[in-house]
């Protein structure tokens, strides 16, 4: 008896120390001995869940399928009120930085300071057609479905952990019974939701528990909302979140609610809900951060940076805020300030290749030449993925271009292409360099490759159009320039050539 008690305590300690795998092993042994040991069962369940627990507030991969859904409130929203429509696209916004100064992501948004879910791959908000057209590169613009790899993995995880079938036979659970036991029910729910990935059963359990609690328990209301959310039933989900907020305002709930509104494409409503949350939790960085992200998505950089600054006031080690502010300063021609922020990141121990590479870039633009090479070398040493190496070599090539060392630039771009053969920017620059050296044919071939790899960039089109214009093939030039203007409507140089071509065509 004593030994059993002792091992239980040890077990709890293991769980507290987050050594889940050992914890699972020990509890499995205990359960083999006495199958009705509720403590061991609960512990094992929680340990399994914790291994796979994800923060639901950070999860939302919009898939290709979402382009087809009709949940968006307006099909033709007003400018600045939607993430979907091209109206929220920098070309028409006043606040957005010009694409000539700040590069774009595949979906037509200015590049952010930090790679996170939904910055690269989402909402870009063009038509389905556009999304389907987006080039298939190794890092494609958008996952095909929402049921991303992660969920699938979660689903099978339960099978893997125990060779003789899942730990809990979901079908045989007596849900109403468990629902009455609050202590067990919550853990069981999380297990079903995260580990077994059986949203429907989890939802049933939550509904039973909620009935038992008579709508008075905010936690169960939120869980029901989460289930609906996962099942893409946004209006039901919204209802439950709001009910839950009436019972007990919680930060997470506000974040979930904002997520729902974003999926319904009502970013302004999401912001107002988050503000409401801020009134109750006035020092909550997560809420401010969420607002900042939404503003960023709407291309309202000034607002976004304001909010990120607020985040930093509340939590001065927030990596995302630091990175975004740094990137913004960098693209606003203030590399020195940006350098300070990146240095801060480095001091905090974020030594990724990206940070080092950015520091090198800032050093270059702030003319602190002694640091550049060291930083790039370090970045290359730290880089783990080929894509990272490609980016670093690309940036080195860029430096070489600015010091007009053409040979070095060409070598660097080639290296970038070795690591990532879909690097459209490198192709574009290679093309330009070749044209500069008056290898027009090769240069144009590179530019065309860049066009096909990155239909979101106007530069290859413009460069191609201009090259063709100089050569005199006005038809190809006209086509390319038109595409360039489609992507970036206010590009004055493209517009100039376009007008001239138009005039030539119109003359009799």
């Amino acid at each position: 008896m004593r030994s059993s008690n002792g091992s239980k305590l040890m077990n709890i300690s293991l769980f507290r120390r987050r050594q889940y795998e050992t914890c699972v092993e020990v509890t499995t042994r205990l359960l083999a001995k006495s199958p009705n040991d509720q403590v061991a069962w609960l512990l094992k369940m929680r340990a399994l869940t914790e291994q796979l627990y994800v923060d639901e507030t950070e999860v939302a991969d919009d898939g290709l399928a979402e382009m087809l859904d009709e949940n968006a409130f307006h099909q033709a929203p007003m400018p600045g009120t939607s993430m979907r429509q091209p109206t929220a696209n920098p070309n028409s916004g006043i606040n957005g930085p010009s694409p000539a100064m700040r590069p774009m992501t595949m979906t037509g948004r200015p590049i952010t300071g930090m790679l996170r879910l939904n910055t690269q791959s989402t909402q870009g908000g063009k038509s389905v057609e556009h999304v389907l057209k987006t080039a298939r590169t190794a890092a494609t613009a958008r996952p095909v479905t929402t049921a991303t790899g992660r969920f699938v993995r979660l689903g099978t995880a339960s099978m893997l952990s125990t060779p003789d079938g899942p730990f809990i036979q979901v079908g045989r659970l007596n849900l109403p019974k468990y629902a009455q036991n609050q202590a067990l029910a919550r853990s069981l729910f999380e297990h079903l939701f995260h580990h077994a990935n059986d949203v429907r059963t989890a939802q049933q359990l939550a509904i039973h528990a909620n009935e038992y609690a008579q709508n008075k328990d905010w936690w169960w209301l939120v869980q029901i909302g989460k289930c609906y959310h996962r099942l893409d039933m946004f209006r039901d989900s919204e209802k439950h979140y709001i009910l839950s907020l009436e019972v007990q305002p919680m930060v997470d709930t506000y974040l979930y609610l904002a997520k729902i509104y974003l999926r319904l494409d009502q970013p302004l409503l999401a912001i107002s809900k988050l503000r409401e949350g801020l009134e109750k939790f006035s020092h909550e960085p997560c809420l401010v951060q969420a607002i900042a992200r939404i503003h960023e998505g709407l291309n309202d950089m000034t607002q976004s940076i304001d909010y990120y600054r607020q985040v930093l006031k509340l939590d001065n080690t927030n990596i995302e805020a630091i990175a975004c502010i740094a990137a913004n300063h960098f693209y606003n021609d203030q590399p020195e300030i940006s350098l300070k922020f990146y240095r801060r990141l480095l001091q905090m121990g974020v030594t990724t290749s990206a940070v080092l590479c950015n520091i090198a870039l800032c050093c270059f633009h702030a003319q602190q030449y002694d640091m550049i090479v060291a930083c790039f070398l370090k970045a290359l040493a730290v880089a783990t993925v080929d894509e990272d190496r490609a980016e670093i070599w690309y940036n080195i090539g860029e430096m070489a271009l600015y010091t007009s060392d053409i040979q070095l630039a060409i070598q660097c771009f080639r290296l970038a292409l070795v690591y990532n053969n879909d690097h459209a920017e490198a192709y574009n620059n290679l093309g330009l360099v070749e044209i500069q050296r008056s290898n027009h044919e090769i240069g144009r071939a590179y530019l065309q490759t860049a066009q096909s790899l990155a239909p979101h960039m106007f530069e290859p089109y413009y460069n191609y159009g201009k090259s063709m214009y100089q050569q005199g093939d006005l038809q190809s030039s006209f086509r390319a320039i038109k595409s360039s203007l489609d992507i970036y409507k206010k590009h004055s140089d493209s517009r100039h050539i376009y007008d001239e071509l138009k005039q030539m065509f119109a003359e009799l």
Binding site: A100, D473, L474
Partner: protein, 524 residues
């Protein structure tokens, strides 16, 4: 021919009902050509989709339809298809108009030789068509056969005296051949016939600007702007003149107009940066120039100006690096080498500085500023006085030549003479004032004379090299010095920036490649 005619009452402009009307006599010419007026009106109004639709539903086509369809195709940028259709109409009906259209389409596709043949074919049918001559000229110009081109342009002008386009093209050909005087004469002639053409006046102004006739240039730009207040090349050029006069504030306000229309133009940013520099707002200047460099990394003058500003800010290493880049772009750019000499001498690398000066003088031995800086450098490094003397002699000679050549006293910077005097080599030629030196050169005897601070301007012709050589600001480590005279030249006038070649076509390929620098992002 397709000017919009709005006189037709709108009620009969609805083709939908009539278009389907098939006639009883399909080959009756009156029915075939019945709707030509409608096509004409629709083309004039730019309703290209409707034209296409209309033609598609017609039971048979007539030559005019083919012609209009071809025009529509060309308008929408499908020149190859347009060419096919025009060729079809030539086969059906080889008139002058059709042949000209075929030729024009060929020219637009860049097949100039074939286009020339087609135009020559057209010439067999007429001898006094201005357009044929003009376009022939253009084709030859593209093929860089300037003599032929000139001939045809002149013929075109004989046929029709008033065509602005021919004057401009002819002037450009002459400019390409380097005959400025003739080009100017042509532009002037054109301007007399077309007194309201902003382009012609801008060209005249630019030519005048190059010869440093600033008043005339400014007048021309003014005329151009009266007729077209938003003619960007004219504004740019006018700003240039204003800047040259040292009126940076006015120039800045003008640049704001251009910025609104061309926010990504490196030249504008460069000029704005130099405006700020002459206003002594260095941070703004550097940041504008940096942006210009970001937008156009291969622009020599942006790099040169950046180096200049950094030299002024005592950031010599940065300046040297920018100069290196500039030199890589153009290995024959003498002022860059001269400036590199200054930067290197400040970095205490006197061997290489010496070499840079020597190379610069080899490339352009008549630049007084380079000579002056070289003299100062020699004085600083303690070269034998004889050598310094010969350098300074040469300086005074070149300076005198330059001063004689310059029409406007502003063009040449008299402060260079002051510096030379301070160095101990006052201007000799007129009356060697043998005994001036007693006015103690501002350098305390022990210290080496302060290095000069060259401010060269850089317009791309040596002509306006009016450098304002700011006399020595504090010598590197000399405690004493004072700013004896450095203040004077504050107005480093006219750091001219690359004379914004307003014809964008000739602009070097400054495209946007670089903007794609992507900051990498870090995954959490």
């Amino acid at each position: 021919m397709e000017t919009p005619t709005n006189a037709v009452p709108p009620s009969i402009l609805k083709p939908s009902a009539r278009s389907i009307a098939t006639s009883k006599w399909p080959n009756d010419p009156s029915t075939i050509d019945k709707y030509n007026w409608l096509l004409h009106v629709m083309y004039g109004r730019g309703e290209y989709d409707r034209i296409q639709q209309f033609i598609r539903v017609q039971p048979q086509t007539n030559p005019y339809m083919t012609y209009v369809q071809a025009l529509v195709n060309r308008q929408e940028g499908r020149i190859a298809e347009a060419l096919d259709l025009f060729q079809k109409s030539v086969v059906e009906n080889p008139t002058l108009v059709n042949i000209k259209q075929v030729a024009k389409s060929l020219a637009l596709l860049g097949r100039y030789r074939v286009a020339i043949d087609a135009y020559k074919e057209a010439l067999t049918r007429t001898t006094n068509d201005w357009e044929v001559f003009h376009n022939l000229g253009l084709c030859y110009m593209q093929l860089r056969e300037f003599n032929e081109a000139k001939q045809y342009f002149l013929q075109a002008l004989q046929v029709s005296e008033i065509q602005e386009a021919s004057y401009i093209a002819l002037g450009k050909v002459l400019l390409l051949e380097g005959e400025r005087d003739e080009a100017e004469a042509i532009f002037e002639r054109g301007a007399r016939r077309n007194p309201e053409s902003p382009t012609l006046f801008t060209h005249i102004g630019l030519l005048a600007f190059e010869r440093a006739h600033y008043t005339k240039a400014f007048e021309c730009f003014g005329t151009a702007l009266t007729f077209c207040p938003t003619h960007i090349p004219a504004i740019m050029a006018a700003c240039q003149v204003i800047q040259k006069h040292g009126d940076a504030d006015v120039a800045l306000s003008k640049y704001r107009i251009i910025y609104g229309r061309k926010p990504e133009c490196a030249q504008v940013w460069n000029n704005i940066g130099m405006c700020f520099f002459s206003k002594k707002k260095f941070v703004a200047a550097v940041s504008c120039l940096k942006r210009a460099n970001y937008l156009a990394p291969f622009e020599l003058y942006v790099l040169y100006n950046l180096a200049l500003v950094h030299l002024y800010l005592q950031q010599n290493a940065s300046a040297a690096i920018f100069l290196q880049s500039a030199i890589r772009i153009n290995r024959k750019h003498a002022p860059s080498y001269a400036l590199l000499g200054v930067a290197l001498s400040k970095l205490n690398d006197s061997d290489n500085a010496e070499r840079a000066y020597a190379y610069s003088l080899k490339l352009d031995s008549a630049d007084p500023m380079t000579l002056l800086n070289y003299g100062i450098f020699q004085a600083n490094t303690g070269v034998s006085p004889a050598k310094i003397n010969s350098t300074m002699q040469q300086f005074h000679r070149c300076y005198a030549e330059r001063a004689a050549a310059a029409a406007n006293p502003r063009d040449i910077d008299a402060s260079m003479l002051d510096v030379a005097t301070k160095l101990g080599y006052p201007a000799p030629p007129p009356a060697p004032p043998s005994d001036l030196p007693t006015e103690k050169l501002s350098f305390p005897s022990g210290l080496p004379p302060p290095p000069a601070f060259p401010f060269s301007t850089n317009s791309n012709r040596p002509a306006d090299d009016s450098a304002s050589n700011v006399p020595p600001p504090p010598p590197p480590s000399a405690s004493s010095t004072l700013s004896p005279s450095d203040s004077t030249k504050d107005d480093d006038p006219t750091k001219q920036s690359p004379p914004d070649e307003p014809e964008v076509k000739t602009k070097i390929y400054d495209a946007n490649r670089h903007k794609l620098r992507r900051m990498k992002q870090e995954p959490t």
